[in-house]
């Protein structure tokens, strides 16, 4: 298969305008453009739909309010009252990942969440933020997070390193989960799209039908992954408050 037909070609980054700053290449690329679209969609939607501020909401306003309540409920369920101050961050994170995934579902549109560097950066922000929060709340006692009470003392040399490793792997698991889901879904779509073209006569209809079904599934996954990202962030924030 030629390189131009590779299912991974859709993930290639093409610079739209080349920019260099302090010797670093910070070109505005198709990935940046996708982020711009995402941010515009979110800000415009949330601003215009709530513009009238009517007590009886329009359908569009209701969607904004539903999203607001969805994340507010998520935070209060997992973190409790302490979670309110992190609401704007968790909401931004959820909306950014959700709309980023959805924008990626538009044909020929780049999916920036399918790039490990982007998801890892987001997960790292969560990880570093939560760790700092843990130290602010508990000081040096934060290390007791790795100590599991009620376990025989001879198990600790084994369990403490496991706990440390699992804690340190949080940003990796968080970022790889999102990245891998997006990568796999979009690759699969592209592979089946290739079948539509390459299969003889009308048999291409079958992979086309599969693509339609898969698109529905991908939209579900797009939402699910944004939800998972947000709920795990909430759980990590909760850990920073309550340790065990």
């Amino acid at each position: 298969m030629a390189a131009k037909d590779s299912p991974l070609k859709q993930f290639e980054i093409d610079p739209i305008s080349s920019i260099e700053l302090g010797g670093y290449n910070i070109s505005f690329t198709n990935s940046s453009f996708s982020m711009l679209i995402t941010v515009l969609v979110i800000t415009l939607f949330l601003t215009l739909t709530v513009n009238t501020r009517s007590i009886i909401p329009s359908r569009m306003q209701l969607i904004s309010e539903l999203m607001y309540n969805f994340i507010a409920q998520l935070l209060s369920d997992t973190v409790g009252d302490n979670g309110k101050r992190y609401f704007p961050f968790v909401f931004s994170l959820f909306m950014f990942v959700l709309i980023g995934n959805m924008v990626g579902m538009i044909p020929y549109q780049f999916t920036f969440t399918s790039h490990i560097i982007v998801t890892f950066a987001l997960a790292a922000v969560v990880f570093i933020g939560v760790t700092i929060l843990g130290f602010i709340n508990h000081g040096i006692k934060f290390f007791s997070f790795f100590y599991i009470p009620g376990v025989p003392f001879y198990m600790h040399p084994l369990l403490i390193p496991i706990e440390v490793i699992s804690y340190l792997s949080r940003p990796i698991s968080l970022s790889v989960r999102l990245f891998a889901n997006m990568l796999a879904g979009h690759t699969l779509l592209k592979v089946f799209a290739g079948f539509v073209v390459s299969m003889p006569f009308f048999t291409g209809v079958f992979p086309l039908a599969f693509i339609v079904a898969l698109t529905g599934l991908e939209i579900l996954i797009a939402f699910l992954q944004a939800y998972v990202f947000a709920i795990l962030t909430c759980l990590y924030i909760n850990d920073a408050y309550h340790l065990h």
Partner: protein
């Protein structure tokens, strides 16, 4: 795999930082407070409506209580009046009955007197007739003219025998 090509790592991180920071600040400062205000306004409205509904319900209960009290009072008053009317009617009836009784008694006694009087009159008439007939009969038979006094003496003497 394009994801592992570090050529655009810095660019992606830079634009991610720019756009995500902008999104975060915009949502934090502009969009979310707006939605929060709308939700709060709605909650206030709902709370206000609920409390006013509760107040109205209390008022309605108060009014219902008043109406029930008035109905009870009116019932008692009506019962009292009905009793009064029945009593006064009974008194009326009994007084009328007693006056009727008196009237009747008077009429009966009057009638009795009249009957007695007319009996007496008739008796007198009969006596006169008897006297006349007796006078005529004696004159026809004996050719003796009796005076009224003598005749009366004779009749009086024989009254018990034909009475």
């Amino acid at each position: 795999m394009p994801q592992l090509n570090p050529e655009f790592f810095v660019s992606q991180l830079f634009w991610l930082a720019v756009f995500f920071t902008f999104l975060f600040v915009f949502l934090w400062r502009v969009s979310l407070p707006r939605i929060a205000i709308v939700l709060e306004k709605r909650q206030n409205k709902i709370d206000k409506s609920l409390s006013s509904a509760k107040e109205l319900q209390e008022q309605a209960m108060e009014i219902e209580k008043k109406i029930n009290n008035q109905i009870n009072k009116a019932k008692l008053e009506t019962d009292e009046k009905i009793k009064e009317i029945i009593n006064s009617l009974q008194e009326d009836v009994s007084s009328q009955l007693s006056s009727l009784d008196k009237d009747l008694e008077k009429k009966v006694s009057d009638a009795e007197k009249e009957i007695l009087k007319s009996k007496d009159d008739q008796m007198k008439n009969i006596n006169n007739e008897i006297a006349n007939i007796t006078k005529l009969t004696i004159r026809k038979i004996t050719d003796v003219e009796l005076s009224d006094n003598e005749l009366n003496k004779v009749i009086e003497a024989h009254k018990g025998s034909y009475n």
